[in-house]
């Protein structure tokens, strides 16, 4: 192609000796064309970020470019001397990162951090730099620009920080913008705004964008072309629409299939007997009270009532800070609500004293988010699965037998019992977490972002396991997630939370296809690739 601005030719990146594989990236070739948005998609460990870092000359210590070229403006950026790489960074290739919370210097004002880009390349005078910083802050749509440039990063929200990052990256109008999962850490509505911003800026400045993501929804939203990577190699490349509609490689197909589509499942037959009844639940957090200042109040859960029938799966969705996690934790009494009732099998969990609570704990169990923190690293799996039942009064023999059975049920096999958590992958640990919850024979399971930390293909497997278990055992589940697509896949009903309140509750089909509330509509519209998912659903239906 003639309009390629960056040409990568058989790039190989070597990992240090002793790593789990010799190359992070192996023999990768692709072009980035002028003004296009190229999405590089892959799961963790696919080498997509390493490729970007290699282009910027920002590889971690010990990781080196083994071979290959990356031609940009007639020069190979991989072999440029450090001084020239430095001159190129920021000026001709800009980059933004995943974690807006940590990517800005906490001790420096936003304006100074933007102005610094000009200083780094010896451009403009001090006052011109400030003026440009102000203009950039305006351009990326930050509110109250005069105030923002004097603010420190901790005073900005995640989305605002990401906008500030974009302002820095675009300060010198680079020809290429590398975006490394820039929206992964953001809420869905914020993510939608940032994606729109990147599209608008591309329109205006005409820079080429290399956008790294794990999310095909994002691809559907912004990509012109797409590259799919796995284990450091490109498995498929092509026009975004074509790859999405008719993927050639089986891995791409598997990834696309693994994406929850918003296909609404049939309503399961539901009995009317409730497994959980939440009545007028309230929880207020107070912070920072001291003799010198008043406490701040956050109504995390504000007069919430919700019922889950026996055998029903209810999805609780909302953005960060909506109070969905607090609600889940109040149901299991990891958080004690201020007022209201949580009835599980007729027992009000919210009203129990410490002693009674310990005896009733088994009624509600939780599957946690972080597979790496949810298992005690010093206990063998058998102990993890049998401590609870034994505390409940089950005999040791019985508890052990049940633990082995459960390991079979969740698909790990009984020989997993004698091993330690660090011997398992994230997905396997999540299975153990599910087995631990089941071991208590609970009347209700709270799944708190139980698949959010997993790669999409692993996520699909765990969701499938949950669906199976639900069919076999008639589980009642409160499924908490920020991801509407996941919720749509496993739930019977959806409850939407915002600012501590339940905004809308209804069967999945109703909520998805005929949302009653403005906020629900906003959330649905913000889901990346929403339109594409609908098409896909229609195609499969």
């Amino acid at each position: 192609m003639t309009d390629a601005i960056l040409s990568i030719d058989s790039l190989t990146i070597d990992l240090p000796i002793g790593a789990d594989r010799p190359h992070a990236v192996e023999d990768v070739s692709f072009d980035l064309n002028k003004g296009e948005i190229l999405c590089v998609v892959g799961e963790s460990g696919s080498g997509k970020s390493m490729t970007a870092n290699a282009l910027m000359g920002l590889l971690p210590d010990g990781v080196t470019v083994g071979k290959g070229r990356a031609m940009f403006d007639g020069k190979d950026v991989l072999t440029l001397p450090e001084a020239q790489k430095q001159a190129m960074r920021g000026a001709r290739i800009g980059m933004i990162f995943q974690e807006p919370m940590t990517a800005l210097n906490p001790l420096m004002r936003i304006g100074d951090q933007i102005a610094e880009v000009f200083a780094a390349h010896n451009l403009l005078s001090g006052s011109e730099r400030r003026a440009r910083a102000l203009a950039l802050v305006k351009e990326v749509g930050l509110p109250d620009p005069e105030k923002i440039i004097r603010a420190y990063p901790f005073q900005l929200s995640g989305g605002q920080r990401q906008r500030a990052m974009i302002a820095m990256a675009l300060a010198l109008e680079p020809e290429i913008l590398i975006a490394d999962e820039p929206t992964t850490a953001l809420d869905v509505t914020t993510q939608a705004q940032i994606l729109r911003l990147i599209l608008a800026l591309r329109e205006k400045h005409g820079m080429a964008v290399m956008f790294i993501t794990h999310d095909f929804g994002v691809v559907a939203e912004i990509a012109d072309r797409v590259i799919v990577m796995r284990y450091g190699q490109i498995v498929e490349a092509g026009i975004a629409k074509q790859v999405l509609e008719s993927p050639q490689h089986e891995y791409t197909r598997a990834l696309l299939d693994a994406i929850p589509t918003g296909t609404v499942p049939e309503l399961a037959p539901i009995t009317t007997a409730p497994a959980l009844e939440i009545r007028h639940l309230n929880k207020i957090y107070r912070t920072g009270g001291s003799p010198f200042r008043a406490a701040r109040e956050v109504r995390a859960v504000n007069d919430v009532s919700l019922t889950i029938a026996k055998g029903e799966v209810v999805g609780l969705v909302g953005e960060s800070g909506s109070g969905k996690s607090t609600l889940g934790r109040a149901v299991v009494r990891l958080v004690t609500p201020d007022s209201g009732q949580v009835l599980v099998g007729g027992v009000d969990m919210a009203a129990l004293d410490e002693n009674e609570l310990r005896k009733q704990r088994h009624r509600v169990q939780m599957v946690f988010q972080d597979p790496y923190a949810s298992l005690n690293p010093r206990h063998r799996i058998l102990r993890t699965l049998s401590d609870g039942p034994m505390a409940k009064g089950v005999s040791k023999q019985q508890a052990h037998k049940r633990a082995l059975d459960l390991l079979e049920i969740v698909g790990l096999g009984a020989d997993a019992a004698t091993r330690f958590p660090h011997e398992f992958s994230g997905g396997q640990r999540q299975r153990i977490g599910i087995a631990r919850a089941l071991a208590m024979d609970p009347e209700l399971i709270i799944a708190d972002e139980a698949v959010s930390a997993l790669d999409v293909s692993i996520q699909a497997q765990v969701l499938e396991l949950l669906a199976d278990l639900r069919r076999q055992m008639g589980l009642s589940i409160l499924f908490i997630t920020h991801d509407l697509r996941v919720a749509a896949q496993v739930c019977d009903r959806i409850a939407v939370m915002q600012y501590g309140r339940l905004v809308e509750v209804g069967p999945v089909r109703d909520v998805f296809h005929a949302p009653k509330q403005a906020y629900t509509r906003e959330l649905l519209a913000a889901v990346p690739g929403a339109g594409w998912a609908m098409e896909k659903e229609d195609a499969t239906a």
């Binding site: 960074r89 920021g90 210097n105 880009v117 420190y152 820095m168 912070t287 920072g288 003799p291």
Partner: protein, 325 residues
């Protein structure tokens, strides 16, 4: 919270701490074996029944314990730290006389150890893994393990006894009749060895901390951002890494100030430096508990003042504190 309310809060806390130390002192006197009056008078004072009787009356030792406690604390609050029979003057005057020498010593030591420690730490971090880094860290490790007083003795042996470069004894040349600049120069020469040897250990502490902190911060995301902007290595180190890396060092330095004042007892003993540390040592030999407790209280007060100062520095360096919530 504004700076003023913070300082006010800290002062209130400081007052409570000092009060608690006074109470602790009181109970220590009573914990000592023997008659509290005799304890306060010191062994030497035991020979003087009149003085003991005075003490007994002054502290109301026949009164209930809480009355005694109250009168003791009241005395301390009015800066009446008792009378040193041994030295023949009030403890407060004794300490006031000796305090400037200790302040000079500990402050110079603090400045030297902090500035050298940070400088060496930054240098070592910039050369991490290279030979010069190993040399610096090994030296720091040695200083870290060297007893303060022994380093002082060895410094006297080498630089004063053997080489004759610097005086190894006292605050100034006795009977020299120096004044003005000449006197300052004389004192400075006397100050070098004590200040350096007192600071060695702390220099090692600050250096290790700075090095570790620099390396940790250099792994952070915002440093990568700075590199992606095209900033040069030295600019990144100075503007982004160093400032963030110094925060924990400032905290540590504030906490370590207390140890510095404790260490002064040893250094002043070796160098016959006429400060409150030396006074404490002399009082130990004379079993002059009143003076020992007085010095203890004053050194705690010094630490508190120091902690307040570091708190203020910390707030100036880190915008997040105070502005938050």
């Amino acid at each position: 919270m504004s700076l003023i309310t913070t300082i006010l809060g800290r002062l209130v806390k400081a007052a409570i701490t000092l009060l608690a130390i006074a109470v602790l002192n009181f109970f220590l006197i009573h914990a000592a074996p023997g008659d509290p009056a005799a304890v306060l008078a010191g062994e030497a004072g035991a020979a003087d029944p009149l003085f003991i009787a005075q003490l007994r009356e002054r502290f109301g030792l026949d009164q209930p314990l809480y009355v005694q406690l109250w009168s003791y604390v009241k005395n301390v609050l009015t800066l009446d730290l008792g009378y040193s029979f041994r030295q023949g003057m009030p403890v407060y005057d004794l300490i006031a006389q000796r305090l400037p020498a200790t302040l000079l010593l500990t402050l110079s030591s603090f400045v030297i150890s902090l500035s050298l420690g940070i400088a060496f730490g930054v240098a070592a971090a910039a050369r991490v893994g290279k030979a010069s880094d190993s040399v610096l860290t090994t030296i720091a490790l040695l200083f870290y393990a060297t007893p303060l007083y022994w380093a002082a003795l060895m410094a006297v042996l080498v630089f004063s006894v053997q080489l004759g470069w610097l005086p190894g004894f006292g605050y100034e040349t006795v009977g020299s009749g120096y004044s003005g600049l000449a006197r300052a120069w004389d004192i400075l020469q006397h100050l070098i060895l004590p200040a350096l040897t007192l600071g060695l250990f702390f220099m090692a502490v600050y250096m290790r901390m700075t090095r570790a902190s620099m390396l940790e911060v250099s792994q952070m995301d915002f440093v990568k951002t700075a590199r992606a902007k095209g900033l040069s290595g030295p600019v990144i180190r100075r503007r982004h890494i160093l400032r963030n890396a110094l925060l924990p060092v400032v905290t540590l330095a504030g906490l370590q100030a207390g140890q510095l004042i404790g260490g002064a007892v040893l250094t002043e003993t070796v160098f016959a430096w006429p400060g409150i540390g030396r006074l404490m040592f002399e009082s130990l030999e004379a079993r002059d508990y009143n003076t020992i407790l007085g010095v203890f209280l004053v050194s705690a007060a010094m630490v508190i003042v120091f902690n307040i100062l570091t708190d203020i520095v910390y707030r100036i360096v880190d915008p997040r504190i105070g502005a938050k919530s």
